[in-house]
Subunit: 230 residues, 2 copies
Amino acid sequence: MLQASVDIDTSEALTERQKAVLDAALRLLVEEGDQLTMTAVARRASCSKETLYKWFGDRDGLLTAIVQWQASKVRVVPVDGKGLTLASLTVSLARFASDWLKVISSDTSIALNRVAIGRAGSGNDDLGAIVLENGRFALARRLKPVLEAGRQAGLLEFTDAEAAFRTFFGLVARDVQIRLLLGDQLKLTDAAIGGDAVRATQQFLALYGAKTGPQGPLEPDDFRSSRPEI
Amino acid sequence: MLQASVDIDTSEALTERQKAVLDAALRLLVEEGDQLTMTAVARRASCSKETLYKWFGDRDGLLTAIVQWQASKVRVVPVDGKGLTLASLTVSLARFASDWLKVISSDTSIALNRVAIGRAGSGNDDLGAIVLENGRFALARRLKPVLEAGRQAGLLEFTDAEAAFRTFFGLVARDVQIRLLLGDQLKLTDAAIGGDAVRATQQFLALYGAKTGPQGPLEPDDFRSSRPEI
DNA sequence: GCCGAACCGTAACGTACGGTACGCCCTTCG
DNA sequence: CGAAGGGCGTACCGTACGTTACGGTTCGGC
């Protein structure tokens, strides 16, 4: 839907020093919010403003570089659908849900989404597109093969993988992201995230699980850990 | 969770002229996004900047007044749960879903949420709290009585109305709001909104509907219209 | 008709910040 | 060892914008 153009490999020509500067800028962005000033970045990163402008062009370029840098740090763990069982599918879905909740509730994600949304109003929708591409759309790209594998294995029933994905997305995220973005002091403990992930997964299976055979609800014990992805 | 303090009756001491100024400012906000300037508001509203400052204190006060003014325009239509049937409950839920989708996809809502989210980073979380209070939380206050009535009538089964509401919220909104806020050019026709509302309602009933008796899926024809609320 | 209050239009002020220029240090290489 | 260049620190410029001040106009009350 949005651009295939910005499917960034970026993080290429970045020296260690530049990565360090971007990390400092990112930390500052998380602390200060949108009124991130070039002078503050230079001071925090112990570099000169002139260097910032030489490397990133202008403030927008710096912001874009920060977002892409953060995106490049989130690496994809491919999931293959061999020998898929209901149990393994369930675990995969729950882990996706858990990872996703951890991401959207992280300070970094909140700060990045805030600045991207703030700029989305004014012409320059680069940031919004990048965030969307590396957030919502990246998740869809990773999850859809799992859903398809589940359908191939006769565990799921759906005609439109996109629609199924969006339902899963809604069941997982619910009102969490918008509340956090608007400043609601929502407390998401690891336990709460795990519970929400399991609940969302069970609800999704109730809606899209194949109706073949009696399929009792899974016990929480059937779900196993999750690895944060940043 | 957030504030009971800001449960605004505002729109009280507002003269017609002031309302007109706020309307002009709101229109400008929708057009210009966050870089709304006091000079531009004064020019658009044909008033002096001095008047703006006298009435609203400062730029933040103006923004707050705009948000509260818009909030005060959205009036609640109480829904009573007398003689509730599965059909009438279904129609009520679908109408809530449709109304909600119309709201979050409106230019006004997007602009307001953007500015509130932009400011949520910097101390001043008034705007975020107000938007939350008049959006997400207002919807919950309106919908929960319907859910409770549905449970009383034996049509729904749940233990936690808040959890049920949040699931409904997720099924309705899915990724729509975040995509729109980030600048995705999502096209939501009235037909698409109606279809999504019906789908979300059916999914919600599949998850929370009472299991008593055979309950075949409803036909789209069973759903009737919806009234936009702004 | 006169007075004061409210309000319009605009000029002016102060500041914050994006962007640029320059001097100096430190490393590297011829 | 000297020249060059990358990069740090800082001073500086221009501008946009929030905020204030002021002169002129309209309007209701006496």
